[in-house]
Amino acid sequence: MPVLTANSRRDLEIRRFPLLVYALVPLIALVLQAWLPRLLRGYVWFDLPLVVTIYFALGLRSPIQGMFMGAGMGIFEDALTHHAIGVNGIAKTIAGFLAASVGVRIDVENHTIRVMLNFFLSLLCSGIYVFIYRVLLGLDLEWSWIVELIKAVGNSILALVLFPLLDRLQIRD
C-alpha cells in the first residue's frame, strides 16, 4: 500500500485549469471591478481582483505563482487609478504569497476557512495599502477602517459565491 506523503498529497490537490481560464478570469475580474462601481453608484465594497488572486493562490499552492498573479493584478489596478503604480501591487503580492503559503498547510475546501482567509487577507491588504501610502510615500490620505471592514466582509461573501463557480472550471482527471 503506497504511503501518502506530504508532497504526493500536495501534488494530488493542486488544481489545474485550462490556459484560457488563467487569462480570462483575471481579465474579467479587472474589467468588472472597473465597470461595476458605475452601476453601484460609486460604492466599491468589494475587491474582485483580490478575491481571484486568493483563489488561484490557494488552488495552485505555489507561492511564486500567487505572488506574480497578485503583483500583476495589483499593478493593473493601480494603472487604472491616478495614484502611484505599485501600492496595490505590493499589497496583493504579499496577499498572494500568504494565501499560497497557507494553502499548502490547511484544507482550503472548507468554506469557513475560505471566508476567514478572504476576510483577514482583505484587511491585511488595506493595512499594507495605508502603510505604503502614508508612511513610505508620505502622501495625504483620509482613511476609514469602517469602510475597509465592510469591504473585507464584501470580499468574504463574494468568495463564498465565486469560489464554487471557479471550482467548476478546473481540469479533473
Partner: protein, 430 residues
C-alpha cells in the same frame, strides 16, 4: 550556494518583487516645495506606458458593455416608448422661445460686461466649444475617484480640459489616451478647483474627502455661510470657466487640523455617481462662439416685434407730451408759468393744506422734530420753502436752483414757490 536559493526561493522571489515595486514607487513620487509628497505632476514615460496598456485592455470591453447597454436602452426609448413625445416637443419649443427672449434681454448685460472687462484689461473666457462624451468606466477603487471617457486625443481631448454637465462641473481630464481619457472627479481627495460662494463671495478650494463628498477647504470660520448657498466656479484655476454651478452648501464643519478654519461640505450639482454623458470644454475664448452668436441673432430677431412695440409706445407718449400743456415751461418767466396761470380754464388743483402741518407736510423742512426753529430766515428775504437754519440762525442755501432751469431774474412781484433762490441768499454780517 544552490541549496540556499532552492531552499529560500519563495522568500527571495517575494523580496525581489517587493524591492522592484518599491523602487518603482520611489521613481514616481517626489517631494514638493511644501515638504509633502506628490505624484500628480505627470507620470514618467514607463509608468504612462503601463497606464496605456491597462487602459487598452480594459476600455474595449467596457466600451462594448456600454454600447450594448445603450443599444438596448436606446431601442426601447427611441422606437417603443414614444408616448407624449409630441406634447413634450411643443412644451420644449415654448421653453426655447422663452429662453431666447430672456437671452436677448441678458445680451446687453453681457456686452456691457465685456466692454468693462476690456477697460479693466481682464478677459473672461466663454465656453467656445464642447465635445460630448460617454463615461464608460471607473478606476474600481474608492480611493481614486476617476472615471474614463470614450473620447481621447484622436477626438481632440487634452490634459486639464474641464468636464461638465448641464447641471454643474464634474472634473478635469487628467490623462489622455488615443481613444479614451481619464477624468479626475471633483470629489477626489487630490482634486482642486477654485470656487466662490455666490452670496458671501468667499473663495476657497474644492476637493473631495474620504467619503467622496466635495468640500471647500482653506476658509476661515464665517457666520455668514449658511446651508443652501450656491457655490460657483471662481475661474482662477485656469481650468473651469467662471460662474459655472458647482453645488450648494450642505453643512459646515470645523477643520480638525486647524482651529480657526472650517470645511464646507457641498452637495454637487452634477450627479457624480451616475454620470453617463458629459461635456468636455475643448476651447474657451474671450468672445461668443458662432453657435452662440447664431442663437443671439435668432433671439434678437424674435425679440424684434416686441422691441418695436415698446418703441412705438414711447414715441406716442412723447408726441402726447408735446401737445399737452406742461406744468413748468423752462422758457417762460416764473410768474407766467402754466402752473400759476389763472386764465387757464382747467387749473391744476393744489392739495388742500393740512390743519396741523408737520415736518412731513410738503414744503416743510426735513429736520428732526424739535431741532428746527420756527423762525428761520429774515423777513426781507424771499422764503421759497422752509429750510433748516444754520447754527447761527442763518438759512442754509438750498440746492433747488441747481436743479431748476436757469431763467432770468424775476421782474415782478416774486412768489415764493417759483422764485429761484440765489446761491447765497443770506449775506453774512461782518
Amino acid at each position: 550556494m544552490e541549496p540556499f536559493f532552492s531552499r529560500y526561493r519563495n522568500p527571495l522571489v517575494l523580496l525581489a518583487l517587493l524591492v522592484v515595486q518599491i523602487v518603482g514607487l520611489a521613481v514616481q513620487v517626489r517631494r514638493v516645495d511644501t515638504g509633502h509628497s506628490s505624484t500628480d505632476s505627470g507620470d514618467p514615460a514607463g509608468v504612462r506606458l503601463i497606464r496605456l496598456w491597462a487602459n487598452a485592455i480594459v476600455s474595449p470591453p467596457e466600451r462594448a458593455i456600454h454600447s450594448s447597454k445603450l443599444g438596448a436602452g436606446g431601442f426601447w426609448q427611441n422606437y417603443i416608448d414614444l408616448r407624449h413625445i409630441r406634447e413634450q416637443n411643443q412644451d420644449l419649443q415654448k421653453t426655447i422661445d422663452r429662453l431666447r427672449l430672456e437671452q436677448a434681454a441678458l445680451l446687453e448685460d453681457a456686452r456691457q460686461g465685456q466692454r468693462l472687462q476690456a477697460i479693466l484689461n481682464f478677459q473672461e473666457k466663454y465656453i467656445y466649444k464642447t465635445l460630448a462624451a460617454q463615461a464608460i468606466g471607473s478606476s474600481g477603487s474608492d480611493q481614486a475617484r476617476v472615471f474614463y471617457l470614450d473620447k481621447g486625443s484622436a477626438e481632440g481631448l487634452e490634459r486639464d480640459m474641464a468636464v461638465i454637465t448641464p447641471d454643474g462641473i464634474v472634473g478635469k481630464v487628467r490623462e489622455v489616451f488615443p481613444h479614451s481619457a481619464q477624468v479626475l472627479a471633483i470629489n477626489d481627495q487630490t482634486s482642486g478647483a477654485g470656487v466662490i460662494l455666490e452670496t458671501t463671495r468667499i473663495r476657497g478650494i474644492l476637493r473631495g474627502n474620504r467619503a467622496g463628498r466635495p468640500q471647500i477647504v482653506g476658509i476661515l470660520a464665517d457666520q455668514r455661510i449658511q446651508p443652501g448657498e450656491k457655490v460657483l466656479t471662481a475661474g482662477g484655476d485656469q481650468i473651469f470657466p467662471r460662474g459655472l454651478p458647482v453645488g450648494v452648501v450642505e453643512k459646515i464643519v470645523r477643520d480638525p487640523d486647524r482651529d480657526s478654519f472650517i470645511q464646507v461640505i457641498v452637495t454637487p450639482a452634477a450627479h457624480l455617481a451616475q454620470l453617463d454623458e458629459v461635456l468636455v470644454i475643448t476651447s474657451t475664448q474671450p468672445r461668443f462662439s458662432p453657435e452662440q452668436q447664431q442663437d443671439l441673432a435668432t433671439s434678437e430677431a424674435l425679440k424684434g416685434p416686441e422691441a418695436a412695440a415698446i418703441k412705438e409706445q414711447k414715441k406716442a407718449s412723447e408726441i402726447m407730451a408735446e401737445h399737452l400743456p406742461g406744468l413748468i415751461d423752462p422758457n417762460a418767466p416764473p410768474d407766467k408759468q402754466p402752473l400759476l396761470d389763472t386764465a387757464n380754464p382747467n387749473p391744476v388743483s393744489r392739495p388742500p393744506m393740512p390743519l396741523h402741518p408737520d415736518r412731513f407736510t410738503p414744503g416743510a423742512a426735513s429736520t428732526p422734530a424739535g431741532t428746527a426753529p420756527d423762525t428761520a430766515a429774515p423777513e426781507t428775504q424771499p422764503k421759497p420753502r422752509q429750510t433748516p437754519p444754520a447754527p447761527d440762525g442763518q438759512t442754509k442755501s438750498s440746492t433747488m436752483p441747481k436743479t431748476r432751469p436757469t431763467s432770468p431774474a424775476p421782474t415782478g412781484p416774486s412768489k415764493p414757490a417759483t422764485v429761484p433762490k440765489p446761491q447765497n441768499p443770506t449775506p453774512r454780517n461782518p
